[in-house]
């Protein structure tokens, strides 16, 4: 079992807990133990674009530094830092880039962090769980499949922060394929949604949820027109906007039909034949279980 440090981020330990539990179970099936950093803090959630306000970069730098110290102290097999949340990935990678490129900023932030036991040098490499899966190999994944998803039409959704800006994205920002390749290895029917990398509205969901209602409606209906029965995502906020906001989409758009939105790891649990008791299938606004039962992929216990 290879041990690799893992940064959860706030959502993954609260609202999106089942994304974490399913990812850890899937990783274990692929011989990886994701070890949660013992001391971690919120990454800040949104990357600060101001160039002269370093205070807003302190949070990710602290996390990156503690990850480095943790993997060194415990001699982990893999010193890279795995994340699941697209927003955390974005913030951590962009800040790391700043630390590497802007030496004055790095010095100032290290001086500020004088309570930490060492200085940060930008050496923590942040990767998304999807990248780890790609590295393990789609062929390895496909050999783990005991329950092929061949009867299921899945439309992967990326959103913004997994892909943009290009320097920190995990795939081609215009034509990503990493989720498609994953779904192919599970033998699912992959449905192409032209809006798979369109923004879901993100934090507008708090200030003006109608923005999100309209954007999510477009994304969901485009997937449905292409024949999707279910949508996968990797971001807790996208998941909330695409899933929970269907409650309001129905009110605004008569004739809209609900469609389940799940994390890609939940489909991996099914395909790998892993126990679904804690897979969080009951944690969705649009319950995916009737679809899975209809497709004979899931049985009520």
């Amino acid at each position: 079992m290879k041990r690799i440090p893992y940064y959860p981020g706030c959502s993954l330990q609260t609202k999106a807990k089942h994304f974490e539990t399913t990812a850890m179970a899937v990783a274990e099936a692929l011989d990886y133990e994701m070890i949660t950093l013992p001391r971690w803090n919120c990454c800040g959630a949104v990357h600060s674009l101001t160039s002269d306000d370093l205070m807003h970069h302190i949070a990710p730098v602290t996390t990156l530094l503690r990850s480095k110290e943790f993997s060194e102290a415990n001699q982990l097999d893999d010193s890279r830092l795995v994340v699941l949340c697209a927003m955390c990935l974005n913030v951590l990678k962009r800040t790391n880039k700043r630390v590497i490129e802007l030496i004055d900023d790095r010095t100032k932030m290290n001086d500020f962090l004088y309570l930490e036991s060492s200085k940060y040098d930008g050496s923590t490499q942040v990767i998304h769980f999807l990248e780890l899966l790609k590295e393990i190999g789609w062929d390895v994944l496909s050999r783990k499949v005991t329950h092929p998803l061949s009867n299921l039409s899945v439309s992967p959704y990326y959103g913004c922060l997994l892909l943009r800006p290009k320097e920190v994205g995990i795939d081609d920002p215009e034509a990503p394929v990493i989720q498609e390749n994953l779904l192919h290895s599970l033998q699912a029917k992959v449905v192409e949604n032209p809006l798979k990398n369109r923004c879901c509205g993100s934090y507008h969901t708090l200030a003006d949820k109608q923005v999100v209602v309209d954007l999510s409606y477009d994304i969901l209906t485009n997937a449905q027109k292409a024949g999707a029965e279910i949508i996968t995502t990797s971001c807790p906020l996208c998941a909330f906007n695409l899933d929970q906001r269907q409650e309001d989409i129905i009110k605004k758009y008569s004739g809209f039909k609900k469609i389940p939105v799940v994390y890609f790891t939940e489909l991996m649990m099914i395909a790998f034949g892993l126990p679904l008791k804690n897979a969080g299938l009951d944690q969705h606004y649009v319950d995916p279980r009737p679809l899975f039962i209809e497709k004979e992929m899931y049985h009520e216990e």
């Binding site: 959860p8 706030c10 330990q13 609260t14 001391r39 971690w40 803090n41 919120c42 800040g44 205070m55 807003h56 302190i58 949070a59 602290t62 996390t63 500020f112 962090l113 004088y114 309570l115």
Partner: protein, 232 residues
């Protein structure tokens, strides 16, 4: 009397004014020596009540230090001010009805989520508590960790005075410890069990035996008893 003791006096600055005070004094005793009559910002004098929070700077580094007046020994040219109280919101809640869920702080201390993870709170804490770490534990809904990390807090308020995100860390931590005690921590059964043992007469015989022993034998038993700490 003072002259006979040959106390060495050192200069310190209280509220920017120079005073000569005995070397080795604490901030509180130095202030009293200098003529301050302390009615606020003074309490137990033993480092527990948190009433005498003070800020100071030293010649030797750039830092703004936090300390308890009754525990911090003065140093030459130290600049001192007392911060006896930091205005802080205090949420009103009913522990019987409050829901110990992860979002408990959104209703009580929503500022908690403004934390920038800058760790300024931990830098100033006289108790050397990992303040930022417990705030973060609260954000992620880990009441047990928050209660544990904040256990030594004496509510002096310096963290709240310094916080760039204007959080009232210590009041939120108090809520976490209350919730932890009420809802998360397992109830100990020791007291109930012991009362039942006493009622069932388990100790009657030993007690009677003890009552009939001569004083020397009781003393011997007292010092020979099993201890989980050292008598110094």
């Amino acid at each position: 009397m003072r002259n006979e003791l040959e106390v060495k006096l050192i200069p310190i600055y209280i509220l920017s004014r120079k005073h000569l005070v005995p070397e080795g004094s604490t901030i509180i005793t130095a202030m009293e020596y200098a003529g301050f009559k302390l009615k606020k910002g003074i309490g137990c004098r033993e480092g527990f009540c948190g009433a005498c929070a003070s800020l100071y700077r030293l010649e030797t580094d750039f830092k703004l230090h936090g300390g308890l007046g009754c525990q911090t020994v003065v140093q030459p040219n130290m600049q001192i001010v007392q911060i006896p109280y930091t205005p802080s919101p205090k949420a009103i809640y009913d522990l019987e009805t409050i829901n110990p869920e992860e979002e408990v702080f959104t209703a009580t201390y929503p500022e908690l989520y403004r934390c920038l993870s800058c760790n300024t709170c931990a830098k100033i804490c006289p108790q050397e508590i990992l303040v930022m770490d417990y705030v973060q534990a609260g954000i992620k809904g880990d009441l047990a960790l928050m209660a544990d990390l904040s256990f030594d807090c004496i509510m002096c308020g310096l963290c709240a005075a310094r916080c760039p995100a204007e959080i009232t860390q210590f009041n939120a931590a108090l809520l976490a410890r209350r919730l932890f005690g009420k809802y998360v921590n397992k109830k100990g059964r020791f007291l109930e069990d012991r009362i039942k043992q006493i009622q069932d007469g388990k100790f009657e015989e030993g007690y009677r035996e003890l009552m009939n022993l001569p004083k020397e034998a009781i003393t011997k038993r007292y010092f020979d008893r099993e201890l989980n700490f050292k008598i110094t």
